[in-house]
């Protein structure tokens, strides 16, 4: 068995630290979910005219300072705006409507505008549709790798692919947990990219080893 270099040892230690810290943070504070997936409040305002998202953003920045807000146009005529924030108090609603009325000359009233609550999305609901595709793909890839790199040891190859793939994903989630990057629409694409890069890295490593193995065999003959 090859001895690990100092660099490799440091790398493994860093990865282990990231994963452990990630697990602790996830278990204690939890992951930081994007507003889209959090429990939030929403108001819809009929502006009777076309509008720019940037103009509404300027208003929401005043009403909800330093808070993430989702602004969306509603229906085909795009003359209604939907504003979602973590929390919308009655005062903020009044302030928001006053500012909108001022900007667009509308006569919206706070009394007739309701604040709707939006429940949070469960993490498991986000990942559920991706589990089966990843499992199927990984299973086929494992079969392929076991056949292609059988000379390197079938069990060893399979274990290496599984462990490294899991460690890579755990590291990514650890980094997300530590840095408090919100779990949002970019999380799954990041997971896919890391998965793909791990596969390329593993294949390159196996190919290199296979080449060396073949050379050794030829030299032995």
């Amino acid at each position: 068995m090859k001895k690990m270099t100092k660099k490799q040892k440091i790398l493994i230690a860093i990865i282990a630290l990231i994963i452990i810290a990630g697990i602790i943070i996830t278990a204690t504070i939890g992951l930081n979910f994007d507003l889209r997936y959090q429990e939030s409040k929403k108001v819809e305002l009929y502006l009777e005219q076309d509008f720019e998202i940037s103009d509404i953003k300027a208003i929401t920045d005043e009403v909800f300072p330093n808070e993430p807000v989702i602004i969306q146009k509603v229906e085909v005529y795009e003359d209604t705006v939907s504003i979602t924030a973590k929390d919308i108090t009655d005062e903020q609603k009044v302030d928001l409507i006053n500012k909108i009325n001022e900007k667009y000359g509308t006569e919206l009233s706070a009394d007739s505008t309701t604040i709707e609550s939006i429940p949070h999305t469960r993490g498991r609901d986000i990942i559920k549709p991706y589990i089966a595709p990843f499992c199927i793909a990984t299973l086929i890839i494992l079969v392929y790798m076991a056949i292609r790199y059988s000379k390197l040891g079938i069990v060893k190859t399979i274990l290496k692919v599984v462990i490294i793939s899991v460690v890579a994903q755990a590291t990514l989630l650890g980094v997300i947990a530590i840095t408090r990057i919100p779990i949002g629409r970019l999380t799954i694409p990041m997971v896919i990219v890391i998965y793909m890069l791990t596969l390329v890295g593993l294949t390159s490593d196996f190919e290199k080893k296979l080449k060396e193995n073949n050379k050794e065999e030829e030299a032995g003959n």
Partner: protein, 492 residues
């Protein structure tokens, strides 16, 4: 000659790039119209239908007799008649307090998700409010969205009751599966078209019950059943259910006074009343939806009706009754400007990477940088004409394809750099070597990509399809265009 050839290919690449990024504008009715196909976006980039299902908190008025039994057809009774008969009026909640539990909300959400999957909705977001039980759903906007919305809000309560006593003979617990089937109504010389059937398959217990019921409720008199279909056991019309009462049934009632009949109810609405011609031993009930037709549009309509019923019955009934409270199309919060920013960032990164390539490999680097731009442009056109839907995952797929092609070209250039003199044969040899090394390393990616192409979940299939076309393009384009560039440059 060599320069002219290189210039021609470069101009062709510039032309394709211009088309891919700016389009082809042709005057149409006093305005300029881009003739290049647009991109199709997924729900995360385009927006979708937002539906809020609210727990039904309303009451229904029930008239009960002195023994506490519910009186049928009470809607026609006046207050006077009610009091004369000794009946009492009661307000009953549509959702009794004991069903409003977290478990039932969760179960309802699960049933809705199953229905969405079976209705072919390939991308959806569902959320349940733990306290109020409200369910929020976001689904893609298309021609079927309205039909889907009407299906997901249905409770899906299925009952077969005795027409007279209203005794419940069978319910959702007896159903194993429901599906749509087709059959042709034909004789040796004529064909009256295709009939759509809703087949309800019952579980072991249900099959036994169906056998007993079909025996108990057997048609007493001979009834002329005119349909000669090759798969039906029963011939009852379900389409336009509320208005349709079979002539068969009418005749039966007229001729046999003691004829017992069953009534099939879905969500307390009467679908049909009938008796059975024979004892059903197969555990399957086939109901014709509409009449036999050769008209494709009508047939599709019947198929849709049958599919909707099959989906609703197949997933059990929701324990909680919901009403559609909000149903509107909301655009994505990711605006066109933000998408443009993503595009500019990608273009910027590509430009920097190509500059590195040119600095490292000089003229060969420049030639392959031009080739790279050509591939990127063709790729952007390809994903538009292959109708690939672009999701956020898809955008990452585009980036991955561009990275993979960069790796391919970098590998090829590194190999060529090692050669003192680059001739046509050397180009061929090095290109072959690069192909072999590159594609062997991405076989696992290809496996994953092909798997993802077959997945119906839109974000992942978008990634798969984009990567598939990208990898195919890398293989084909480089063997033609990049090869040509290098061979012309090599000269000999």
């Amino acid at each position: 000659m060599k320069k002219i050839k290189l210039l021609t290919i470069t101009l062709a690449v510039i032309l394709v790039t211009a088309i891919a990024f700016f389009g082809v504008y042709i005057p149409v009715q006093n305005r300029m119209e881009d003739k290049v196909e647009g991109y199709s976006y997924a729900m995360d980039l385009k927006g979708g239908r937002n539906i809020r299902l609210k727990v039904d908190t309303s009451n229904k008025t029930v008239v009960k007799d002195s023994e506490g039994n519910e009186v049928e057809d009470a809607d026609n009774l006046t207050d006077e008649q009610i009091s004369q008969n000794g009946y009492t009026k009661e307000e009953t909640p549509n959702n009794p307090q004991d069903v409003l539990t977290y478990d039932n909300y969760k179960k309802s959400k699960g049933i809705i998700e199953d229905r969405l999957s079976k209705l072919g909705v390939n991308n959806y977001i569902t959320k349940v409010d733990d306290k109020t039980g409200d369910i929020l759903i976001e689904i893609p906007e298309n021609d079927n969205t309205d039909a889907i919305v009407s299906n997901i809000a249905t409770t899906g309560k299925f009952e077969i009751v005795d027409s007279n006593t209203k005794e419940v003979l069978m319910d959702n617990n007896d159903i194993k599966a429901a599906r749509v089937m087709y059959g042709s109504n034909s004789t040796s010389t004529t064909s009256s078209g295709t009939t759509v059937y809703l087949e309800i398959e019952f579980n072991k217990n249900g099959s036994q019950k169906l056998q007993n019921i079909s025996n108990d409720y057997k048609t007493q008199n001979t009834v002329n059943v005119t349909n000669t279909t090759n798969i039906t056991n029963e011939t009852n019309t379900v389409a336009d259910a509320n208005n349709t009462t079979n002539e068969t049934n009418t005749n039966t009632t007229q001729t046999t006074e003691e004829q017992k009949e069953i009534t099939m109810l879905i969500d307390d609405e009467e679908i049909m009343t009938t008796s059975f011609d024979e004892t059903l031993e197969t555990g399957k009930l086939q109901l014709s939806v509409g009449t036999a037709t050769t008209d494709q549009k009508t047939l599709q309509n019947y198929i849709n009706q049958a599919s909707s019923m099959a989906v609703v019955l197949d997933n059990g009934n929701m324990p909680v009754k919901y009403t559609v409270d909000e149903n509107q199309y909301i655009l994505s919060d990711m605006t066109q400007n933000e998408l443009n920013i993503v595009l500019y960032v990608m273009v910027g990164l590509v430009v920097i990477s190509l500059l590195v390539l040119i600095i490292r490999y000089k003229t060969n680097g420049l030639a392959l940088a031009i080739s790279y731009i050509g591939l990127a442009s063709i790729f952007l056109l390809l994903i538009r004409y292959t109708n690939v839907v672009i999701s956020i995952e898809g955008i990452f797929g585009i980036a991955m394809v561009l990275i993979l092609n960069y790796i391919f070209l970098n590998k090829l250039l590194a190999k060529l750099k090692k050669e003192k003199e680059v001739e046509k044969e050397t180009v061929n040899k090095k290109l072959k070597e690069t192909y072999k090394e590159f594609f062997i390393r991405i076989i696992p990616i290809c496996i994953a990509v092909i798997t993802f192409c077959f997945i119906t979940w839109e974000p992942i299939s978008s990634f798969g399809m984009i990567m598939f076309w990208g990898i195919a393009l890398i293989a084909v384009y480089n063997s033609i265009v990049t090869n040509l560039f290098l061979k012309i440059k090599a000269g000999k």
